[in-house]
């Protein structure tokens, strides 16, 4: 990689790192939405290394009133959460989510990719169309890949907007995720004996831990 880009670098002198840091700072600052490294690269002069500049910039803003945060595979500047009290003026009234919507969101976040049937299985109640629609509309969830099981059901996954909203670097950083997984509470365990064919096949895709449950 370095070898390949070496001749290019000699042709187009990349600006000094301090200057690159300024550039990344300006771009992130100006944008309300997170910016990916690829986007930074496209906008910066040839040979620039925004990933490295980001490391420096992030450090520079540590402990400041504004922070450089990672959102999925993108970066953004956000005010420090401890200063939220100063911002009543900027506070946006978010639509009050129903309990069903909040739980559905959490289930998708922790189980993703997750089908509607799985959400219903966990909540023990049908998921209303409106709940999913609302989350889709808020751009907190989106469609993932179809599950390769009979019926090829759609799956839902959380979005970058979700991560941004809750200040998460990635879905792996969801609170308590590790513990829940360790406790087996993120397993998709079917009712003993009642497991039908489709669930069987679905299971095959899942982790090893769950295959143990299927010895018959």
């Amino acid at each position: 990689m370095t070898e390949i880009s070496a001749p290019e670098k000699s042709l187009f002198e990349a600006p000094p790192m301090a200057e690159q840091e300024r550039m990344v700072e300006a771009i992130l600052f100006a944008s309300a939405d997170p910016v990916t490294v690829a986007e930074l690269e496209a906008r910066m002069p040839h040979g620039a290394d925004p990933a490295e500049a980001l490391v420096h910039l992030r450090k520079r803003y540590e402990g400041r009133g504004v922070r450089v945060v990672k959102v999925g595979d993108a970066w953004a500047m956000r005010t420090a959460p401890d200063l939220g009290f100063l911002m009543q003026k900027e506070t946006t009234e978010t639509r009050k989510l129903s309990r069903a919507a909040i739980e559905t969101l959490a289930i998708i976040a922790y189980h993703q990719p997750c089908t509607r049937a799985e959400i219903e299985e966990i909540r023990g109640v049908a998921v209303s169309r409106g709940t999913v629609d609302q989350l889709l509309e808020m751009e907190w969830i989106r469609f993932g890949r179809r599950r390769m099981t009979p019926g090829r059901p759609v799956t839902y996954v959380v979005t970058q907007e979700f991560l941004d909203h809750f200040g998460l670097e990635s879905a792996r950083d969801l609170p308590g995720l590790k513990e829940l997984r360790a406790a087996g509470l993120l397993d998709n365990r079917p009712l003993p004996g009642a497991a039908n064919l489709s669930e069987d096949e679905e299971e095959a895709e899942d982790q090893v831990g769950q295959s143990e449950l299927f010895e018959d």
């Binding site: 956000r78 978010t94 959490a106 976040a109 109640v125």
Partner: protein, 262 residues
């Protein structure tokens, strides 16, 4: 009869009745039987992993009984759950039948406990999620986003062929056809009509249509094809106009024409 019912109810203690009623009034607020079961399980005041499913089943069945007594119509899924729990209860109480291939009562109970624990875990996870710092509430984005101005650079392009065709177009002041159609091998219907009109006067007798093909159009296959098609089309046109008659003995048999006797 109705009075008898009232008397029966009076036998239960007031507090119990109030509790039951509160629960039942709350039915609307429950999100299905699993939600209700989770709520009932809390009365056991133990870790969900140590919950007595048998006791829970009895609590639930008791709830359904009371709902019936109070003549409250429960949704179907509550009754389905009641039936299933009654089945589970019997499995848990009766000694296991070795000939029975289905899952044991313990397995079913463990699964229900797992479901409750998982639902509870998801509720807690949801609460923790919503308790996080949220954008627009605890932390904020740039107030004046500077839009990236999209500079659209348009480059125009043209090929040499475009240029030449354009020139040709202006020089001819005519709609220019870039693909010169090879007309050398096309015998048009107009040509065929023209030719046949000249010849038809002599065709008093049935003559094979192939005779009418123009000279020099019979050896080359593509020329022959074109000439045959146009000659045939022209003869149809002439027949329609009442100048000639056509006949064909059989499918794919040769077609013959003659001047229409007047």
């Amino acid at each position: 009869m109705a009075e008898g019912h009232e008397f029966e109810e009076d036998t239960t203690s007031v507090t119990e009745r109030l509790a039951a009623e509160a629960l039942i009034v709350d039915v609307e607020g429950f999100e299905g039987p699993l939600d209700l079961l989770l709520m009932l399980s809390r009365t056991q005041k133990v870790d969900l992993r140590k919950i007595s499913v048998l006791k829970l089943a009895e609590q639930y069945l008791g709830f359904v009984e009371k709902a019936k007594a109070l003549r409250i119509e429960l949704a179907a899924d509550y009754l389905v759950m009641a039936a299933w729990l009654a089945f589970l209860k019997s499995r848990l109480l009766l000694p296991p039948d070795p000939s029975d291939e289905g899952p044991s009562g313990e397995e079913l109970a463990a699964h229900l406990a797992f479901q409750l624990e998982r639902l509870q875990a998801m509720r807690e996870a949801a609460a923790r999620l919503m308790g996080r710092d949220q954008k627009g509430r605890d932390f904020f984005v740039r107030g004046i986003p500077e839009d990236v101005t999209r500079v659209r650079k348009i480059t125009y392009t043209a090929t040499l062929l475009d240029l030449m065709q354009a020139y040709a177009r202006t020089r001819t002041h005519d709609e220019f056809r870039p693909y010169a159609f090879d007309r050398d091998h096309v015998f048009t219907m107009e040509q065929a009509l023209e030719r046949m009109r000249g010849l038809i006067g002599f065709a008093g007798d049935w003559t094979d249509i192939s005779v009418y093909l123009p000279e020099g159009w019979t050896s080359d296959p593509s020329r022959r094809r074109s000439a045959t098609a146009s000659t045939f089309a022209a003869s149809l046109e002439l027949a329609k106009q009442g100048h000639i008659e056509l006949k064909q003995a059989d499918t794919f048999a040769p077609i013959a024409i003659r001047r229409k006797p007047t």
